[in-house]
Symmetry: C2
Subunit: 168 residues, 2 copies
Amino acid sequence: MAIASDFSLGKVDVALTPRERFAEFLQTRGKRITRQRQVIVDHVSSHHEHFDAEQLLAGLRQTPEGAKASRPTVYRTLTEMVDAGLLRKMVLGGRAVYEHDYGYPQHDHLHCTSCQQLIEFSSDDLARICDAVAGQHQFRARSHRLIISGLCADCRSNRSKSRHQDRV
Amino acid sequence: MAIASDFSLGKVDVALTPRERFAEFLQTRGKRITRQRQVIVDHVSSHHEHFDAEQLLAGLRQTPEGAKASRPTVYRTLTEMVDAGLLRKMVLGGRAVYEHDYGYPQHDHLHCTSCQQLIEFSSDDLARICDAVAGQHQFRARSHRLIISGLCADCRSNRSKSRHQDRV
DNA sequence: TTGTCTGCAAACACTTTGCACTTTT
DNA sequence: AAAAGTGCAAAGTGTTTGCAGACAA
């Protein structure tokens, strides 16, 4: 009984590629399938790690041909991809971080406040707790986000020697 | 086996008032107990809800006498109070929101994306899950934060009629 | 052709910082 | 008196927006 990770649309159809899924989303909204949006979805789909807008922008600018999109367009498209259920957004250290949410199982994170690394994990027990809690408060849960902050194995060792600045 | 809510200092001494606790914190750091810092701790301590910097600033400006502190000082002091273990900070809808963390039990939140309300709850099971997960990843957990987003009972009813703008 | 999208530059909200002056210690 | 704190104004961040030209449908 996992909490549905897709709540902005009826159901998840994993048969579609992210690109197709996005196209479908755009069409049903009267939005256009532009070159920029295609380039962005493709680029994002080919990199399965967590990233922020600036990293995506930098990545796009390194692609061979002029596969570029301006900063505003990147931001606008990221928002659309979140709406489309392709990406999931979370705020860490003051900036938005995105991760794939299409065809990926629900999961949560361990966040290292020193190196900013994100480690994923999933727990069925957690999902059950969320359901139970929401029910107790006549609350309609759409999603949940658990972030356990602390130090990863690496940073626990290198701790004292390096100057660090924890960012929430 | 609750996760200690105080991790920046050795132990919680609930015998002290927030004001005293803050004074103690400042002294041990060679910092000074200024009028502004006193005014801010007192004001914050007398309002037990969640708030952000701007609300606090507005609140201070409404106090009878010239119990004022500038915006920069408010921000600086909030940071200190977090370090002192008096407040807990979280980021919602783009701005930092603070809640009391001194003498308050560990808890998490249900966040209504429509009216921005925060409902608190606590779960021992959740704490156990966090411990377990952290252990599995050689991770040293300092704290955790679970936010279940969705619609509160009220907003579930008034849903369609009001124009809403969900903010993560 | 029509209406959406893009990119640019400017605007934004929230938060932080440089610095001369004020205060606590 | 010495050191830290304050307030002001200005600078930052990360992100959003107005608008004229560019482009899907």
